[in-house]
């Protein structure tokens, strides 16, 4: 049944090129103007994401991970101070595009978004089915009825029973609402889905269920994900690679297999040591101090004031060092 559904959803396809890299972000900067000064929320971030890969962006609140997602989707507030760098999707630089073109051709068509607190993202006065169908109507000019039919298929795929589609958002449980949003993100058959904390407000069993659904979709549709989260244990369910952000910078980008065994950057190591585990006994650690203010970030390595391994060189800002050709670390310990 899944196969059948897949071919139906595939009707909307726009010749995908087959290079290995799907998304390349180069020196992305997004600064905001505030009454206190300029907040450097994302400060020179570069990474690449392959096709059919999922990357997890990990970090604490205020490290710029949600801003990174919003920058890629160009969902920007009004007080933008600087927005520069390159975002290349399928070999096409998205930065020179005007906003209208980006809205029509990229957002939802190629990159869709599952927002934070997706539970509250549904419109309370629309039936869930119509809402799921909306991206097709808006972006592909499909008629309401045809779009609704496809919404039914997408809903089946994420495990949302058909009769739920004629209900309103308040009649659905948190997990079901989350499924509706994921169905909506899938419907236009995008190449990349950005998920911002997709399970943080859900119960453990519901969370496991949603993660199963996301895994299944990734396998069947060969989709790429960027998963933004602060929940390290849950992120391991979906990650092929892990990107760790700290104070607006990427400090480590490693394959998941390496990261969950032995992270490289001192911050990532501390972060992993602070995760409580159910099955093994370990002494938990916490990171003393607080992340720096992004209004006026310190010179040099931004983690240095809290870092147990700092030395003289940390007064200078470390570049990204690559290790074994698979990992990238922003730390002087890996200088050669």
């Amino acid at each position: 049944m899944a196969k059948q559904t897949k071919s139906a959803v595939n009707l909307v396809n726009f010749g995908r090129s087959e290079s290995a890299t799907l998304l390349r972000v180069e020196d992305l900067k997004l600064y905001f103007r505030t009454t206190k000064g300029v907040v450097q929320a994302v400060d020179g971030v570069s990474f690449e994401l392959g096709r059919r890969r999922s990357a997890t962006v990990l970090g604490e609140s205020g490290c710029g991970k949600t801003t990174l997602a919003r920058a890629i989707l160009r969902l920007l507030p009004r007080n933008v101070h600087t927005f520069s760098g390159k975002i290349v999707l399928d070999g096409v630089d998205l930065m020179p595009m005007n906003d209208e073109w980006f809205r029509k051709e990229i957002r939802w068509r190629k990159i869709s978004f599952v927002p934070q607190a997706a539970m509250n993202a549904l419109n309370p006065v629309l039936r869930v089915g119509h809402q799921i169908a909306e991206p097709l109507v808006v972006h592909h000019g499909v008629s309401q009825d045809a779009a609704f039919k496809r919404a039914v298929e997408a809903a089946k795929l994420v495990g949302l029973p058909e009769d739920f589609l004629s209900r309103y958002a308040f009649e659905l449980s948190g997990g079901m609402r989350q499924r509706a949003i994921i169905a909506m993100a899938l419907l236009t058959n995008p190449e990349l889905i950005i998920l911002d904390e997709p399970t943080s407000a859900l119960d453990v069993l519901t969370q496991a269920n949603i993660m199963n659904t996301l895994k299944k979709i990734k396998r069947e549709f060969e989709m790429s994900y960027i998963l933004i989260t602060h929940d390290i244990a849950t992120s391991s369910e979906l990650a092929d690679e892990v990107i760790v952000m700290y104070a607006g910078h990427i400090v480590e980008h490693s394959p998941a297999a390496r990261f969950f065994k032995a992270p490289l950057h001192p911050y990532a190591q501390k972060l992993m040591a602070s995760v409580p585990t159910l099955r093994e006994d370990k002494e938990l650690e916490f990171i003393p101090g607080q992340p720096p203010s992004l209004l006026n970030p310190p010179k040099g390595c931004r983690f240095a004031p809290r870092c147990p391994k700092r030395f003289e060189r940390c007064a200078e800002e470390p570049p990204l060092f690559s290790l074994d050709g698979v990992s990238v670390v922003k730390c002087w310990l890996f200088a050669r």
Partner: protein, 324 residues
């Protein structure tokens, strides 16, 4: 202070919320808490784990006297709790809320926030109150105290706000602290710090603590005894290590299986999750409440009879017919 006496004793607590149609026609009850009994000794930490809607917050509200029990009794420090002695109860029970920012009045500074409970309960003389404020701030490590006294909640980080909430719960020198998911809104790196702090405070003052959470993985860093709740009932009671090693109830098993540890292996296979969702508490299923989702259901028994508590291992109680 008694060392081994019972601080809080709940017997067959039921808290039902009435449902009304058009505001006055009786339309049934939400059985948010349906027959829970336990004893908490002085200085004991107890964790209650459950999903949303399992009744854990209602249990907490009942203990705080915010939701009067429909049936059953609550005895605190040897005295039954009634509608008349709630102010006495609340003076001896501290409450740590889930969302620290929402729990702190934004227009009061730290000093005022900590002074307020003492003013309301008419505790101490002005000089003594100031001394207590300093004492609790030192205890929760908001140091140096002078820097914090005049700050407002928005000037504090999430971890500092939660420490202030703990300080406020401590300022009346309670015997019992009730904490509702105290770390769920905090970043991973701060969580451990707050759990450590609560543990330290609990030991230093020999406090009874009821810690409510949905996150089983933090439990072992906090308490020894765990209750697992499902659909308004406690299904399993045991030591935390025992629960992890030798969980008996099928629901506990499913819950534990769903909790990931950070490991890349997780990405390679699917998790087993019981089908369906927790039942409605207006008309809960007959018999065992987990039976519609249970893979080990005994036909003819589980859907008819409510399982009593069995004790297959000493000190380990489980409400499941598999262990009769």
């Amino acid at each position: 202070m008694q060392q081994n006496g019972v601080l809080l004793s709940a017997k067959d607590l039921h808290t039902w919320y009435e449902l009304r149609k058009f505001g006055f026609i009786h339309a049934g009850y939400v059985r948010a808490l349906d027959g829970v009994s336990f004893d908490l000794r002085y200085g004991e930490a107890l964790t209650i784990v459950g999903e949303s809607g399992s009744g854990k917050t209602t249990l907490l509200k009942t203990v705080l006297g915010l939701a009067p029990p429909t049936k059953g009794t609550l005895v605190f420090a040897g005295q039954p709790v009634t509608a008349k002695n709630l102010s006495w109860l609340r003076r001896h029970v501290g409450y740590v809320q889930q969302d620290p920012y929402g729990a702190l009045p934004p227009f009061m500074n730290v000093r005022r926030i900590l002074l307020e409970p003492m003013l309301i309960n008419k505790v101490g003389q002005p000089a003594e109150r100031e001394a207590r404020i300093r004492e609790v701030l030192e205890e929760v490590r908001l140091l140096p105290v002078e820097d914090f006294l005049l700050k407002f909640p928005h000037m504090l980080s999430g971890g500092q706000q939660q420490r202030l909430v703990i300080a406020r719960a401590m300022v009346l020198r309670p015997q019992l602290i009730v904490a509702d998911e105290p770390v769920s809104m905090l970043d991973a790196s701060v969580r451990v710090e707050i759990l450590d702090l609560m543990r330290r405070v609990q030991r230093a003052h020999n406090l009874g603590v009821i810690y409510i959470t949905h996150d089983l993985s933090t439990v072992r860093y906090f308490s020894e005894r765990v209750f697992i709740m499902y659909a308004a009932k406690v299904v399993e009671k045991a030591d935390v290590r025992e629960i992890v090693r030798n969980h008996l109830h099928p629901y506990t098993r499913a819950l534990l299986a769903a909790i990931p540890d950070p490991d890349h292996e997780n990405a390679l296979h699917f998790k087993e999750v019981p089908p369906g969702e927790p039942p409605s508490l207006v008309r809960p299923p007959e018999g065992c409440r987990f039976h519609p989702r249970c893979v080990h259901k005994i036909p003819g028994l589980c859907e008819r009879e409510v399982p009593p508590e069995f004790e297959p291992v000493p000190g380990h109680f489980v409400a499941c017919w598999l262990y009769r």
